[in-house]
Assembly symmetry: C2
Homo-oligomer: 614 residues x 2
Amino acid sequence: MKTELRIVFQPSGRTVHVLAGTKIFEAAARAGLLLQNPCGGKGTCGKCRVRIVKGACEPTEACRKLLGDEKTRDGYRLACQAAITEECVVEVPFASLYDSRTQILTSAEGKCLGGKPAVWKKYVELPPPTTHDALADLKRLERVIGRFHVNLNIMHDLPVTLRQDNFTGTAVVCASQLLAFERGNTEADCYAVAFDLGTTTVVGALLDLAQGREIAVAATMNPQISYGDDVISRITRAREDAHNVAKLQRAVVQTFNDLISDLVTQTGIDRHHIYEVAVAGNTTMQHFFCGINPSALGEVPFPPAYVRALLLDAREVALDLHPNAKLYVFPNIGGFVGGDTVAGVLANSLLDAKQPTLFIDIGTNGEIVLANRGKLSAASTAAGPAFEGARITAGMRATTGAIEKIVVENGDIACNVIGNAPPVGLCGTALIDVAAELLRLGVIDTTGRVVAPDELPATTPDAIRARIHDHNGQMDFLIAAASESGTGEPVYLCQRDVRELQLATGAIRAGANIMLRKAGLAPEDLHEVLLAGAFGNFIRRRNARRIGLLPALPTEKIRFVGNAACMGAKVVLLSAEQRDVAEKIAETTEHVDLSLAPDFQEEFSMAMLFPESE
Amino acid sequence: MKTELRIVFQPSGRTVHVLAGTKIFEAAARAGLLLQNPCGGKGTCGKCRVRIVKGACEPTEACRKLLGDEKTRDGYRLACQAAITEECVVEVPFASLYDSRTQILTSAEGKCLGGKPAVWKKYVELPPPTTHDALADLKRLERVIGRFHVNLNIMHDLPVTLRQDNFTGTAVVCASQLLAFERGNTEADCYAVAFDLGTTTVVGALLDLAQGREIAVAATMNPQISYGDDVISRITRAREDAHNVAKLQRAVVQTFNDLISDLVTQTGIDRHHIYEVAVAGNTTMQHFFCGINPSALGEVPFPPAYVRALLLDAREVALDLHPNAKLYVFPNIGGFVGGDTVAGVLANSLLDAKQPTLFIDIGTNGEIVLANRGKLSAASTAAGPAFEGARITAGMRATTGAIEKIVVENGDIACNVIGNAPPVGLCGTALIDVAAELLRLGVIDTTGRVVAPDELPATTPDAIRARIHDHNGQMDFLIAAASESGTGEPVYLCQRDVRELQLATGAIRAGANIMLRKAGLAPEDLHEVLLAGAFGNFIRRRNARRIGLLPALPTEKIRFVGNAACMGAKVVLLSAEQRDVAEKIAETTEHVDLSLAPDFQEEFSMAMLFPESE
């Protein structure tokens, strides 16, 4: 194995180990820091600038040109250009973070998306009642903060609370509803949580609404996995027994509450100062989360129970926050294109895209959105959980011990393992890497067959040849020997793993192809491909293109947009006005049912074949 | 004792025992049937016609004139004119009932108040989803019944319910909110309950919203009486210990649930078909009912917590109805003029009164509203519970055993006892009767002193003289001897009872006088005095006028309007539009704080004196 280099990012202190030659951009992504990349990594926009504060990192020509000599001397580099050659400490300016887009929403200058949070606080000092001004308590408050609806549970003690502090206190309002009246001035303590509810993983981001920025993130597995690893199998559980709906709901609500506890612990805030939650998930996940029976999503024509956004009381699903906290659940486009897609489209302003743009969110389902001439169309493909490590012999999630990157050079295999530990298995990005490298070497042919050593061209290095092992007539490829691995067992890419990869890749590519054809577009007509999802951020675009997961476009046209679902959830929390945009996206996006496309089966079989060449 | 005559009213079958000479109108009121009386009992409008179907009842000249010979021969009589002389069975036409006003609201012709109930049902047969019409379930339903908000608890099973019956069922909607989706066609089963929440009594009326009429009534004591018999003493309990608010709330909610059970048992309907409740009570009662701390109502300037109507979920106060039933609580005018007054004003269309009209609702508090030149002003006076039997030596509520009417003729005392039982005590109407009769006889002087037998004029019958007994220097008047009474104890009107009566009467008269003076009106300028309240319906106007409770006006100008608070609650259930009128009444009515009127104390002391003569 090649030595892995330790890179520390400041100010977060996040640390990763990467192979020499890795771009800083990629290393940062692995550390959970998605950097701005509007130029797609061409080194022409300069938005991803970082600064090397310890260790060395050779600047490229593009770095010098864009940053100038002085900045370059000061250690500034373009993260998309400079490659890591030794251990170093990298400082990431706030402005270089992709996510800062949502973070400037509420700042004074930030006109980026406009609007202000649905939740707001105001400290008031009301004149106490007199015989000449005997107005009712609520009207007295309304005179200052405007007319509102009020929860009965606040009314119970409001008259007493008001009098305890001589008619001062802080009103908490959400969408013209008085959520609370707190003693003292608590204007600074105003929080919300954005959730990306994935089939496999759940991510929660704590937002400081007063500051308009994210202050903590937490993530974990979706516990519903024990009921099935894709949406169809979970819908089947609901169809078998309606009681399972409540069970699956409880499981995911518990996870939300755990994540909230985590966020609260990380930041030391009071959970009763969290007044709103936004949830973006696929249609099925959102149904389960709300306790809505999703059985109908399991049969043609897969109609959801609802499509418009739901604005609920968080206590209706037993979230442990402020007792009157609100819950926003994203609108759905259709049975299999849900709130996560709406959120992703919203976060990337696809409604305003001027040129043909393809948005791909690769998760357990692959959601594909095409923006063309002001119109949006969306489809979902059942990619399956292969990219998340499931159904792969040595597959695992991207956690400690997972090989996340594989590079083959001169017959040598270099692996990057998360957490700088001995390898235990493969995560999705490494699966793509190894498949792409083996395609280049001819070890895998375009039909996906792992060839026997004696079928290989003579030029194949012996070291590679020696890694192909015959298991009952099928060829498997050894990635890490038993002596190197963390479990004492060898790590293989098996023939059937390649088949799983072909199914996953083929589903997404077939979907994209059909949508492009419906719009009369060829892949080269695309101005940009936006790659979303926790997984999407880590893939090597060249390798993804090699195996056919992405269209044959220059890598600069393929742009990472991070966890777009979570970002969309942040957007609606930071700007109530953007909820109207979300609704418009859900209403106007054409839902393309790929299963109804007459050419889907043929397209799918074709797409399962790997491309002939780069 | 004079013999009491048994009168049966049809079709209700309600039976009362009354003294000979009692007008049918008064007997009907005692049976809980308030008849129409727009002419105030002058016998000129003919709206109170009833028919004698068994027994005889002499027609008056007015009867013959208005009804004609044929109708008179058929047994028709004007209830306000014909007096009972023997036992008979009286048929009451639906149109003669005062309450029919609210009952025709939803009928085809009824344009009386306009509007339709907030709650409505619609049976739908939706086209099931197809691949060409894969609309979400909610949108599919909205296509037929219009856009609505939906409770999450309905959403849980809606997809399954819809499919069980091939997309048919009944939608239940209240104010653009889907309350339920029921299996089958349940359009006919649509109910609501109107509550009059009094300080002393609680009345509930079950409405059939599909038919637009009342189908059952139930009443009971307000259990909060054990915490004090007037609003001030209950507010004091809340001020002593905030926990008492929840206790008092629970007590009255339990009573509501008991009354609902009673109504459900009477009619055999399913309580889950009750979708809305309207509550009209004074400001303090409404605060307690909602669990809102009313402490501030106990100190100057008595500001309420809220004034606008509250539209709540009935489960928020734990009412046992349909789980998504709504709860409408009337708007308040001020700290001591509450939702019951708004309801009464609404039920009597006082906002549209063309001529000066005084509305008096005599309960534990006396509420007085003056309508003059399109403006409304309202005040509340602490009449106390004397009229409800409390604080009176032999006082009792108007139930079995209560003397409800007293007539003195030629020295003879005739009593009518509720339930045709031996007398146990006096209810409020009899208290007024006996005081008026004794004033006429000179037994009580204008200062309220019961005079000693030797001070009486020589013309006083000996039988009366013999009833005045000296108790420790104070004179008490014997109404029923121990041998006649149901308890074996004599029933007296004591000197201090007269003092209590003076306080109660004085408070109301002083209030009315001040309001008239503020408006520059004399009592004779009044076009009408509307007398509301369960108690108001039973008083003899002439006697009430004699003791000064009512202004010195011809009895025809004093009109009974029944339980106006309850009727107002029915109005808002039967016509959602009338809620805007209620809001307007609450907003525009001037709240007159009598305690701030500089002349109140003087006026009050003057008003405690009984008038010199009729």
